[in-house]
């Protein structure tokens, strides 16, 4: 039997403790062990950005980390951002600007943008495009996403 490891991690403010095999990807841990299926998996080689989460406040690919590495750390996933009844201003802006089509890449894009907007409260179009250049979207052509970010910046600075 392979060695198992205890993992204690805070996700969206909730404390979770689980026992995992070291090879378990953090993305699978969040989705299937913790049932937080809002984090999506699109490539498992770190290119598409769908699985982006905040790890100690930094946007990272959860498919390129092992769950065991999250021990003692803090994670924010899309479930911790807002609820349908109480959307985060960025989610609100995405809704208004039609930044979502199939919605598969959306959680990863939101999690990429949350820290970006904190650091760049008034970004221009090029900065926004660079910020999401590590998130692939096949539906929107990115334009309404960019518009959504601009709108969010307005909302959040108001």
């Amino acid at each position: 039997m392979r060695h198992l490891f205890d993992v204690g991690v805070t996700v969206n403010g909730n404390r979770y403790e689980r026992t995992v095999e070291p090879r378990l990807l953090l993305s699978d841990f969040l989705r299937h062990d913790l049932g937080l299926t809002g984090t999506h998996v699109g490539c498992e080689h770190g290119v598409c950005g769908s699985c982006t989460i905040l790890f100690d406040g930094q946007p990272v690919r959860s498919c390129l980390m092992f769950a065991v590495q999250a021990n003692g750390h803090e994670i924010l996933t899309v479930e911790g951002l807002g609820t349908p009844e109480d959307l985060h201003p960025l989610q609100e802006a995405f809704w208004e600007a039609h930044s979502v089509q199939c919605g598969f890449c959306t959680p990863g894009i939101l999690m990429t943008l949350v820290p970006f907007l904190e650091e760049n409260p008034n970004p221009n179009e090029d900065e926004i495009r660079a910020a999401i250049s590590g998130n692939l979207c096949r539906c929107t052509g990115y334009q309404h996403i960019v518009d959504g970010v601009k709108l969010a910046a307005q909302k959040m600075s108001a």
């Binding site: 392979r2 060695h3 490891f5 095999e21 070291p22 090879r23 990807l25 699978d28 498992e44 080689h45 770190g46 950005g49 982006t52 790890f55 930094q58 946007p59 990272v60 690919r61 498919c63 390129l64 980390m65 092992f66 065991v68 590495q69 990429t112 970006f116 660079a130 910020a131 250049s133 590590g134």
Partner: protein
């Protein structure tokens, strides 16, 4: 695409990490940011039986000035930390300028300076830049440590002088002399992709604006970073006129490199790009050198 099983160690000190590496030898891999290793494992192209995770080794995370005006980077310093460091921007502006070109924001959150160097991907910017800046790497094993100049460290495709029981713990960069200019030029299909060709140039001028020293280092044209010695030689002692720069770029593209072909670029196209980019890099480095009196 799930990784194969492995044994996992998460040491908190370098010493402890070295014990595991020494014990497991070639079966073990050090896990730094994991941004190259984990995808390779997910594809099951790499199947290390032991991973020694360095992410809890706090002594490897630092950006420090060195007393001679240079810079020291702990191997586990993450790209995003380097990217935001004013010290890096002051002392090694070439590194600072390169950071946004490395992969995506999310990869830079996690990827580490030392990890990129030790991985020795021929397309990586940091290897070529380290050579261009005359950097050195500190390697440690259980019995001691050694310093290896960056231009001797890379010995082949994904291969370095690192022994299985050794860990790269630090990168060190010397003070950049006055009247030194730098540039990194690259062509990538999309901004976040590995460059088809990239070139780092560092030029130091003497008081007469003649080139005292030049270093030109390519990425993505060989098994590792490739230094254009012949081209650099043609610049030494010269006033960097457009003709001289053009000729040096030509030399770099034809005599200094022997690029290969892949699905994104033929050898001929790479050679052509090497010439174009060298010219642009030298132009810019020369301009900057003049401006830094």
């Amino acid at each position: 695409m799930k990784p194969p099983p492995f044994e996992y160690y998460a040491p908190t000190t370098v010493e402890e990490a070295l014990v595991h590496l020494s014990e497991h030898g070639y079966d073990a891999k050090a896990l730094a940011g994991g941004q190259s290793l984990i995808p390779t494992m997910n594809f099951r192209l790499a199947q290390p039986s032991v991973l020694v995770d360095l992410n809890n080794v706090s002594e490897l995370f630092y950006i420090r000035p060195d007393e001679n005006g240079g810079l020291r980077l702990g191997a586990m310093t993450r790209h995003f930390q380097v990217e935001r460091s004013s010290l890096v921007s002051e002392r090694t502006p070439l590194i600072y300028e390169a950071m946004p070109k490395i992969a995506t924001p999310q990869i830079r959150s996690r990827g580490t300076f030392g990890g990129s160097i030790a991985h020795a991907d021929p397309s990586a910017e940091l290897g070529a830049i380290s050579i261009a800046l005359g950097g050195r790497f500190r390697l440690r094993n259980q019995t001691g440590e050694r310093w290896v100049p960056a231009n001797e460290f890379f010995i082949g495709m994904f291969t370095t002088l690192l022994e299985p029981d050794e860990l790269l713990v630090e990168a060190s960069f010397p003070n950049m002399p006055p009247r030194t200019g730098w540039a990194l030029q690259e062509v990538a299909r999309r901004p976040n992709d590995f460059a088809l060709v990239g070139v780092a140039a560092v030029v130091t001028l003497d008081k007469k604006n003649q080139c005292q020293k030049a270093r030109i280092v390519f990425l993505s044209v060989g098994d590792g970073p490739v230094e254009a010695h012949r081209a650099a030689e043609t610049l030494t002692g010269q006033t960097l006129t457009p003709e001289i720069i053009h000729a040096a770029a030509e030399t770099a593209a034809t005599a200094d490199i022997d690029p290969g072909s892949d699905i994104h670029a033929s050898a001929e196209y790479r050679r052509h790009l090497a010439g174009v980019l060298t010219r642009r890099a030298l132009d810019l480095a020369f301009e900057r050198a003049k401006g830094r009196g």
